[in-house]
């Protein structure tokens, strides 16, 4: 029982003025889409926020044409000029950070604490980071030739951050973009369109088309798109890989994960517990690299679980706009249904379910932080990505067994290691087949640090110097790289 209660501390929504409806952003203008409109809703209240346009394949074609035309202008600009536009955008994002954070929490359901303190600073940082690359590309080793028009499809879990990951490097390298945000979280992308106008970005360099899967498919399949970048589910990633097969399109995919978070008996328990909580309950577990499989050394299982449960009881679930909220709303009714279904499968397959006592709001989409113990590797909840605040706990005895269990998945996005022994960290990091390994920490991101998966978690890297590779014509630079003589 809590010793004292927190008073409500809601963030004001006065800073955002949401219009009743929004069109598409093509060639620097907001225009009507040709398809039917749909509503984007606040997942914490189920209230409609705005009517959003659906871009048909004709609309997508117009956007691609605008991007193609702008490509001539944009790619011909000196890198230093492109850099200044990106620096401008980064600054405007900082200036409008509060507005964007509130909007993100309204549309996505994530706690304002996270959108304000994690998402927005990272969004600005990404634009700053890649702004600096625009006039230094010749030092990166991938040549300086852009690919052309980039078609980008992003998910709903980090709407503005994923936009930044996609647009910042694309523009820095001289490409133009047509970006489709997720249908449940289009608002911050449309705000970003306004930021592009405030920055006087040449028309057509950034185009935003809204809609659901069909709009995204039209972007990916458009014959005049030169590069496709997608972040989302492995299932959709497969479809996209099939779509671009046989074309010249360059493709990068950031797909699902089922990360192992491995805790050894000599780990600092309190820090590990914080890392586990951050790993699976950050952003309601709507994180592709979420530490959804906890592998705990058998000898400390009881102690760790007791600490973890005690910590979970202090998590505050509720109003995303309350500054004290730790866990916000599930992004959509569909996602909530999926989480419920997989959790029920977990129970029916024999795992033991536990959640702290917590009162969930009556309206909106909510799911309490949940732990499953007694999970075997064969269980569905140990194999399939749940994409929600659900942790599966497994145990191991030896480091070799931990490696084997951690790698026993078709995914390979991320992993966590908790131990005080340095040589063991390095040994484990070496053996784990995952693109990001967090040791004695978890869920850390930085624009300077490459991110991306092994195996069915996709290919290509975003962030850092290596993130430039996705947006440059490496073939054109092969001779230069090898032929320095």
């Amino acid at each position: 029982m809590a010793i004292f209660e927190y008073a409500p501390a809601p963030e004001s929504t006065d800073v955002v003025d949401i219009k009743p409806s929004y069109g598409l952003f093509i060639n620097g203008e907001f225009v009507d889409g040709s398809g039917p409109t749909f509503k984007t809703i606040n997942p914490a209240t189920e209230e409609s926020l705005a009517e959003i346009s659906t871009a048909t394949s004709d609309d997508v074609d117009r956007a691609v044409q605008a991007a193609r035309k702008a490509f001539g202008v944009w790619s011909a600009l000196p890198g230093a000029e492109r850099a200044k536009y990106l620096f401008r955008i980064a600054r405007i994002i900082q200036e409008r950070a509060r507005e964007l954070a509130v909007l993100e929490s309204l549309d996505n359901g994530k706690p304002i604490r996270e959108s304000r303190d994690v998402d927005l600073p990272l969004v600005a940082a990404h634009f700053f980071y890649y702004a600096g690359w625009a006039d230094k590309l010749e030092y990166a080793g991938f040549g300086t030739k852009p690919l052309g028009v980039a078609g980008q499809v992003i998910p709903w879990n980090f709407p503005l951050l994923m936009l930044a990951w996609k647009i910042a490097p694309a523009l820095a390298c001289g490409n133009t973009v047509v970006l489709k945000p997720a249908e449940t979280t289009p608002l911050t992308a449309l705000w970003f369109a306004d930021i592009c106008r405030q920055a006087d970005l040449p028309p057509g360099v950034v185009n935003i088309v809204t809609g659901a899967g069909e709009t995204g498919a039209a972007v990916v399949a458009h014959p005049d798109v030169n590069k496709v970048a997608f972040t989302g589910s492995t299932e959709v990633g497969r479809i996209i890989a099939r779509t671009v097969a046989g074309t010249d399109k360059k493709l990068t995919l950031e797909l699902g994960g089922k990360a192992a978070n491995i805790v050894f008996e000599d780990a600092a328990i309190d820090q590990a517990v914080e890392g586990i909580v951050n790993g699976i309950f950050f952003n309601q577990g709507h994180v592709c690299c979420a530490g959804s499989r906890l592998l705990v050394q058998e000898s400390i299982q009881d102690e760790l679980l007791a600490s973890l449960k005690r910590r979970l009881a202090t998590l505050r679930v509720g109003d995303p706009l309350d500054k004290n909220t730790d866990v916000g709303a599930i992004n959509s009714a569909d996602q909530l249904a999926k989480i419920r279904e997989l959790s029920e499968i977990g129970e029916s397959e024999g795992a033991l379910r536990w959640s702290p006592a917590c009162e969930l709001p009556e309206r909106g989409f909510w799911f309490p932080p949940t732990i499953f113990t007694g999970v075997a590797q064969s269980h569905t909840i140990a194999r399939d990505e749940i994409f929600g605040p659900v942790l599966s706990v497994l145990t191991f005895r030896t480091p070799a067994e931990a490696v084997e269990k951690a790698n026993n998945t078709p995914y390979g996005l991320s992993a966590g290691i908790w131990t005080e022994k340095g040589s063991r960290i390095l040994w484990m990091a070496d053996k784990l087949r995952a693109g990001v390994v967090w040791a004695n920490t978890f869920n850390k991101f930085d624009p300077a640090s490459p991110f991306g998966g092994y195996k069915e978690s996709g290919y290509g890297r975003e962030g850092g110097l290596l993130g430039l590779e996705a947006y440059l014509d490496v073939r054109a630079s092969a001779a230069r790289l090898g032929g320095l003589s």
Partner: protein, 281 residues
């Protein structure tokens, strides 16, 4: 009476051994002039699967070897190839001078890639200056088992597609040039006597159209190099099949094998692992 020559039986190269195709099939290989040269093994789906098993088995050892060691072994392959220069020139046929040049180019290419083994991480890795008290380092790692459809050039082409894949720690299954596979199998003999662990390179001879789709759809293959595929429809089907487990694909390409290759063939089959650790006392 002149002496009757002892002909060589050309077999497959799987797991360091030279088996015949389990299917019992072979196909006649002829010179450009149409003269019979030999019957090459015609590998089956089962042979392809056995080769993938061998490549997977070899992966932990080969990817776990030090880059210095891998470089030494690749250089040893070059040494052994140099030692058989005349034999390869004869087997490649055509003009003697052109054949010798092709062998020399293949040797030089192996030496070039051998030197990359302990340098690719410096060129394609990074120390990442993150905005926080964290150690953060990105380093390249091999993707796993790569299936390669080799181009028609049986020696220089083959070396140019295999060396970049294995120097970085991957293991591979290669479908050799369909019309002229003999030099590829002789190269396998060089590999077998060059300290290269069995299974790191596996060479199949046979029909490209028959073998490539099985390898492209094999769920334990992580990368697919379609360089040598000449039929656009076959390439499309293979690339589509590769999407099933999101294999890293190198699309078909007409390449000038005498040109500077660059590092793209290595990086296509590399992953990047980024490790974070807090910094503090």
């Amino acid at each position: 009476m002149s002496r009757l020559t002892v002909r060589k039986t050309y077999k497959l190269y799987i797991g360091g051994a030279f088996p015949r195709s389990e299917s019992g099939r072979s196909y006649p290989v002829t010179s450009p002039k149409g003269e019979f040269l030999a019957n090459a093994s015609q590998a089956s789906r089962k042979d392809a699967r056995d080769a993938v098993v061998a490549a997977r088995k070899a992966f932990p050892g080969w990817s776990g070897a030090t880059p210095y060691n891998r470089g030494q072994i690749l250089y040893r392959v070059a040494e052994m190839l140099e030692g058989r220069r005349a034999q390869f020139a004869e087997e490649l046929g055509g003009g003697k001078r052109a054949a010798l040049e092709a062998v020399d180019a293949a040797v030089d290419r192996l030496v070039w890639y051998a030197g990359w083994s302990d340098k690719i991480a410096s060129v394609h890795g990074a120390a990442n200056p993150v905005a926080g008290p964290y150690f953060n380092l990105s380093s390249p790692e091999p993707t796993g088992v790569v299936a390669i459809v080799a181009p028609a050039d049986p020696l220089l082409g083959l070396v140019s597609v295999v060396a970049p894949v294995i120097v970085t720690g991957n293991t591979c299954v290669v479908v050799a040039s369909e019309p002229s596979p003999l030099a590829s199998i002789t190269l396998a003999e060089v590999l077998a006597t060059s300290d290269l662990p069995g299974g790191v390179v596996n060479v199949l001879t046979g029909r490209q159209a028959e073998l490539a789709p099985w390898l492209a759809s094999h769920m334990d293959v992580n990368g697919l190099d379609l360089t040598g595929v000449t039929d656009a429809d076959l390439a499309l089907r293979c690339e589509q099949a590769a999407a099933e487990n999101l294999k890293r694909v190198l699309r078909p390409a007409q390449e000038d094998w005498t040109a500077d290759p660059g590092i793209r063939r290595m990086t296509r089959f590399l992953e990047t692992k980024t490790v974070w650790h807090p910094v503090g006392i």
